[in-house]
Structures are given as structure tokens and as C-alpha cells.
Symmetry: D3
Subunit: 174 residues, 6 copies
């Protein structure tokens, strides 16, 4: 039987910490379902990229990092903001899985209450390999490219992602 | 004719101030509709308990406090976040009522604009008999049990409510 | 430990078949959760009555039939029309339950797939004790009162329910 | 004080019967609020035109029929499909009104139950001045232009409305 | 061909800066679509007025400022909170337009990404002609009437708008 | 530059006609985005399978038919039932695409109105290679396995799909 893990994130954007975690988890399971949460959101300070853009970045990262696509599933799941049903929603959108990998407190708690096995993700250099940190640096024109795979940095450039993030942060207030 | 009051709250969780208020209101009306607002929410800092858990706590509180079930109605109402329709939604979910008891400014204003009679709730020791205060104490392992009926404290223990609240407050940020 | 059953219906309106079923189930469990499905709907051919009206009818039926309120819970649940999450939604709105009583194929199947025990409801004279049949008779001014408890017939008269059903069935097409 | 009427329709599309009704109602009130219901829908058999297109057709009809814009309000209202809140939603989207003109059974009943005065619309030649009839003729390439104001027929041509309706009615089934 | 502009705002409430902008834009286009965003919201600190009230204020402002109704369209659009679809939603609710006038960063960015021409609005005395500033003054009983057209100040008085804003800002916390 | 096509379906379930179409389209484009529409639905007569089950079936079909995963993207998109925004939603969930392959009238029309290139799908033996036909046969215990890839038939057996479809078709009416 195939052993399958589930890894939930928003991937705004995917970074080297995510990639490292995916590689680590794939040592423990046969296949990994990468769930893109808050799938309907984009063009906001915390969610700048669309699901289509996030899927593209994840695919490029997997390819450039030699993680086989055949062992990964990429599944966007929109957020209904009703926590009591979230586990069911993820379960309904995902292929069957055996174990959830997450550090996020709400995801962890909801799956535990539903009786699903949850393991922490051993994040690498969590302080800098963080999407929040990366978006912050993008906004302030600080150095961020070294925190994501090259293929991802290239894609963000193609779609003018930095321009979007900086544009959205402007204000029309005086 | 039966005179019926309506009392809106989130009951996260129900506390002795709520119980005192219910008893006081029941001196003025024959029956009381206890509306559980934001019914779809749970597992959050402000809304830790599900509607099912909140209904259970309210029932246990009524029973242990000798408030007759036959004089109370417990009605969960989900929040649609569109204030202009909220009075209609509550009215559609509830048995007919004559008067609303609330101190909450939005509820009060909406019912007044709809032409419904609104009375304040004479809350007892409002500063400590407060769900916000209780959740804060639960989070920080301070003493909270004396603020809720014993039957409610017992139920929260049964469902490992403190563990949930503390779990959800963790962070995966560094 | 209390053994609790769950009985899902739309109760448009509650009839003697429902009442008989509730009595029968209460011989097998200590308490029964009566879930009012499609709670947000009303004023339609299949859902003429609001949740508030349905709660009122159920309460009156329980009272006039001497079914103790202390053994029943009445819980309205709005329909999100996403079947994969429905069991979670009901579970989140309801006090904990051990077994589901239903004949409705979708409800039955969803709870079975979720690993919940499901029992059929031994409906009495199903052909005439049917809400569909009753609404049909109401519409056509046929005899229907004998199919519901007297207290329910009385309530429907109070709220001019027949007038509403007949009004909604009119057409403005030529 | 200004006396204001409210006229609810979907206007898919507006036809000469609507125009006649608007003129008739404007003899009884100072101003008329024309509510475009089901505002979010378009590109369907029953709702082919977007709200933007329907607003445009109504404006053109008012102009070509010499009905003064200053006496009319055009207000799109999306449908939430929860009848118990619909009157509140319309009331919240519309300027204050005194009386509702409608033949539609549900609209009529909901406003009556809310205590609003409702009058029937004296539709002219209802059998042919009907949006359903017009869409049917459009679909089947029958003569329909004489049923709508010329300015409306012209607009439908501009946006290739007939092509859209016929396109949507195709099937990919064998 | 008619050249049509689109101007998006929440108009909570419309003020003299808006009016000046509308006049300025009408020098550059034949007609202007005034989109009332967040149409479903009201009775909140940032959105005190209903769409119906906002439409009324805009109409009164246009009339008292001698801006011809025949050159303006007022179109409420509810917010679905999904940015990727917002341009399509506005486009579907509005008559066809050629250019968008906005200073709001998100609106600007979304229309630009969709390939629509966007121009800034040359706001006059932006610091005081600001709805945020006006609501703040209303709340604190400071002078605000000179910031809106007289007809708007009069309407806000009629509907007891200040009372509503101050009422909603109360707290039931100790 | 990569040329990418988009193929929209509900895949309830994926069949040999779909597989043939995917192979044919992959002769014309470098990559194909397979959009699973109505992603939130399951456990219904027309939508028996969850998105997770449908993704699994598509992946198994691609693998057993030797269609390289590296050339395909599988993207579930929930249905918001607002046609005017659907193209934007699909565009936001999907990687960038150049051309849409579809026979479905609504999808075709919406993409054409949005200025996207649309090509028909040359379906093979459309009358029998049809999901509707397959679900009908499943329901009636007729022969259906030859219409889907073996790997798909095997998966449907694993999840007891036939039992689910037959169960849901039962009735509790007399």
C-alpha cells in the first residue's frame, strides 16, 4: 500500500524551507499531497499570488529541485472560514492520506480532533525561510531571491510580482 | 398570551453573569429565546467552542441552575455578516418574540431601527463575569472555574476545552 | 453514560408519523437530537415554514404528546449544499450523539461513510403521514388536520400557513 | 413628501409590458424604484443578460419612451436565495419606498407578511408581453422585436444577444 | 460613440471631494458610472450607511450640484472578497465603460492587470474631504457638515445617521 | 514558449473518451490543464465522486495510459454559480493557458466572450463514452467497465462507488 502524507500551506510564495520540508517528508512517505490553502485569495498583502501562480511556482520548484512529480499531488482548497468543516473539506478535495504534516496550530488541532495522525514539519532556518519574511523583504526592496528556488524567483519576475506587492501596499489616504 | 423575550449572545462560554441575566429576564417574561450567534464558528481565539458544545453548556447550566427548560428556547443562528438582514434572519430562526434583551451595541441598534423593543441586560459584576475575561484566564492558566456554573466547568474539562484554547494560541512563527 | 440519537428532517411540517418515530426512538436512546435541516429556507413550495415556525411546531407537538423536553434537543442546521462537509456541519451544531436515525438516502449514506451508526426509522403509515402529502393537501384544500397533532394544526392556523402555501403557488404567468 | 413605489423584476429583457406598467405606476406615485432581481445571474436560459446589460436596456427604454430619469431609480439586488431575509435585503439596497407593485406571488407574499402595502401591476397583453415568451421567440428565431422598445432591440443586436441565447441552448450531448 | 468612465467608491458618505471629482471626470467623458462598492454592508464603523441610503445621498448630491442624472449611472456592487474575480463582477454589473478613475491601490492594480485603462482621480483637499475623516468627526461630535453637500447633510439628519454612528461605537465591555 | 491548453470537465467519472481527447489535444499543445469543475460537489446523482476521488481517477488514468504527468496539470475549481465571473475564477486557479478545449456550450460561450480562443474537442464515440451514460449504467447494474480505463474501474471498486451511486438513488418516499 502507498503511504501518503498531506502538507498544508498557503505558499505565498513557496520557499527553500518548504522545499526542504517536502524532501524530508518524502523520506517518510511514498507520496505527498501539497494542499494550497486559502485558494480563492490573491492580490492582498498576505496573499499576493493567485492559486494558478502558486501552483506554477510549486511545480517549477519541484522540477528544479528534482522532486519527482509522480510522488506529489498539488491540490488547491478554498477556505470556507468554518473551522468545524475544514477537515472534511480538505479530505474531500484530496486523495486519501495517512498522515498530516503541519506546524500550523489550527490545522494541527483540527486534524487531531478528527482523529488523524499529525506530525510536525522540521522547518529549516524558520526565521528566514518564511513566506511572511519574504513578502516583507519584497515590499521593502530588500534581498529575498536567495530564500526561494531560482525557478521561483524567475517566475515572480515574469509575472511582475514585486511590482504587484508594492502596488497593493500603496495608500490613497493622505 | 405568552410574553417572550430574546437574548442574543455567543456564549463562548456561558458564565454566571449570563445565568443571572436569564433568571432576571425570566421574572419579566414568560419564556426566553436564547439565540446563539455566530453559530458556524468554532476553534478560534474568540469562538473556541462549537455550537453543539455551546448548546450543551447552556442546557447543563439551565438544568444545574434550576431554570425550567420549558420556559427556554435555545436557537443557534449563523452569521451572514450582512447587518441589514440580520434582524430578519434572527426573526426567521426564532419563535415569535416581544422584546429583545441585549447590551451589545449593534444588536441593540439593529432591532431598534426595525421597530422592536429593546431592553438592556442588567449584568452582574460585568468586569469578571465576561466570556472574554474567562477565555483570557483559560489561556493563561489562571483561575476561571468560579466564573461559570460547575456543570459548565465540568463539560469544558470533558471536551478538553482548555487544551484546545491553549493549542490554538500557539504560533508556528519564530 | 447518556445514549443519544440524532433524527434529521425538514419538518415541513411535523406530522404524526414524526411524533410516532420520536416516541419509538426514545425507547432505544436516552435523549434525541431533532435536527431541522435546510434551516435557512422558507416561503417555498417544499419549504413553506421558517425555522422559527418549525421549532415552534415541534415544541408544541412534544408538549401536547407528552414527550419530555428534557430528553429532546431541537437543533436547526442550515444547508451549505456541499455534501462532503455535511456530516461535519451537523456534528458541529449538535451535542455529541451515538447513532443516527434516518430513512433519507443521502443522510444515511453520508453518515455511514463517516463511520457513524445509522438505523432506519420505522415510519408509521408512511404514505399518508408524509409532509409532502400534507403540503399537497393544504394546497388543494383537502383534509390534512388529522395528519398532524392538534397543537400543530392550531399553530398553522394562527400563522395563516394555508394562506401562505396557496399564495405561493399562484402564478403571474398567463 | 415624495411618494415612492417599488417595482421588482428580472427584466430578461425589459419589454413593452414593463414600459406600460412603469408609465401606469408613475401616474400613482412620484418616483419609482425599479429593482433588478437576481442581479448576479447571466448567461443562462432564464437569465441571459448581465445586470449591466439589463440596466442599459432599462435606461434606453426609459429614454426612448420619454419617462424621466429623475423620477426613476434603477437598483440591482443580488439573490441570496433565503426568502426570510429578502424583504430586508431589498429594503437595504433601495431608497425608502411606500408601496410595492408586483404580480409575482413570492414577492407579493413576502412584502405582505412584512407589513408593506402591495398592489398588482395591471400588465398589458400579458400573454405576449412576457420576457419568457420573448426569450422563447429569440431562441427559435421567431419574431420578437415588436415586443420590446426599438432602443432595446437595437441594444440586443449590438451585444449579439440572440447569438448568445442560441449558443447557450446548444448541447454537447449526442 | 459615447465615452464612459467608471468611478468606484464606498461613499460612506459622499462628500465634496467626490462631487468635485465627478465634475472633473465629466469634463473628460460623456457619461460616468458611479459604482457603490461593498454594497451589502451597513451599520458598521467603516460602513455605516446602507446602499439604499448611499444611493439616495448620491442622487441628492448630483441634483443639488446640478450634475445631470442623464450623464450618470449609479450601480451598487456587493463585495465577494475574492480579488481575482472582482473586475469581472464590476464589469458584469456595469454598463460598458472605457476607463476607470480611481486612486485606490487594489482597484487600480486589478483593472490594470485586466488590461483596462486607469486614471488617477485628482482629489481636492484630500486630507479633509475624506469619508474616513467625516465619520471620525461625526463620531466625536466635531464639525463635519461643511465637508458634504447640504442636501447630503440634510439626509443624514433625516435618517438620524449621527445617532447610528455614535450608537454603534458604544461598547458593552467594562 | 510553452503552449498550454485548458480542458474543463466534471469527470464524473473520467472515461476513455476523455483520455482519447487528452491524447489528441496533447498533439497540439505542449501542456494541458485539466480543470475539474464543480469541485465542491459529490454524493449526488450527477456528481457522485468527490474532487479527491476524481483527481485520483485522473492520475491513475494518465499513468495507465502513459500520458506524462509532466505535461498535465490537474486543477479543481469550485463552482460559484455566477457565470459572469467564471472565466476569471478559472483563470485565477489555473496556470496561464493559451487555448480552451471544450464542447460544453456555456464554457465555450463564456471564454469566447472573454476573448479567449476556444476549440472543440473531437470526442470519440460520444454516445457511449459519456459520463452520464456511465452513471446511468452503474445505477442499473449494466455493463460500464469497458468505457473507462481499467485503473479507473479498479479505483471505483475500491471506494465502493457503485454502491454509493445506487444508495443515493434510493427513495424514502412510498
Amino acid at each position: 500500500m502507498v503511504k501518503r502524507g498531506l502538507f498544508v500551506g498557503r505558499f505565498q510564495p513557496i520557499h527553500k524551507g518548504h522545499v526542504k520540508a517536502i524532501k524530508d517528508i518524502l523520506k517518510q512517505v511514498d507520496e505527498l499531497v501539497i494542499v494550497i490553502g486559502s485558494a480563492q485569495y490573491s492580490h492582498g498583502a498576505d496573499n499576493p499570488f493567485t492559486t494558478g501562480e502558486r501552483i506554477t511556482m510549486i511545480r517549477r520548484a519541484l522540477e528544479s529541485e528534482n522532486i519527482p512529480l509522480t510522488r506529489c499531488w498539488i491540490v488547491p482548497v478554498p477556505d470556507l472560514h468554518i473551522h468545524m468543516i475544514w477537515v472534511s473539506e480538505v479530505t474531500g478535495y484530496s486523495p486519501i492520506f495517512d498522515i498530516v504534516y503541519t506546524n500550523e496550530p489550527l490545522t494541527r488541532r483540527l486534524f487531531i480532533e478528527a482523529g488523524v495522525k499529525v506530525e510536525p514539519v522540521p522547518f529549516h532556518k524558520r526565521k528566514i525561510y518564511s513566506s511572511t519574511e519574504i513578502r516583507e523583504r519584497m515590499l521593502k526592496n530588500k534581498s529575498w531571491k536567495e530564500l526561494v528556488p531560482k525557478s521561483v524567483a524567475q517566475f515572480i519576475k515574469e509575472i511582475k510580482g514585486i511590482e504587484r506587492i508594492q502596488d497593493l501596499a500603496r495608500t490613497d489616504k493622505v
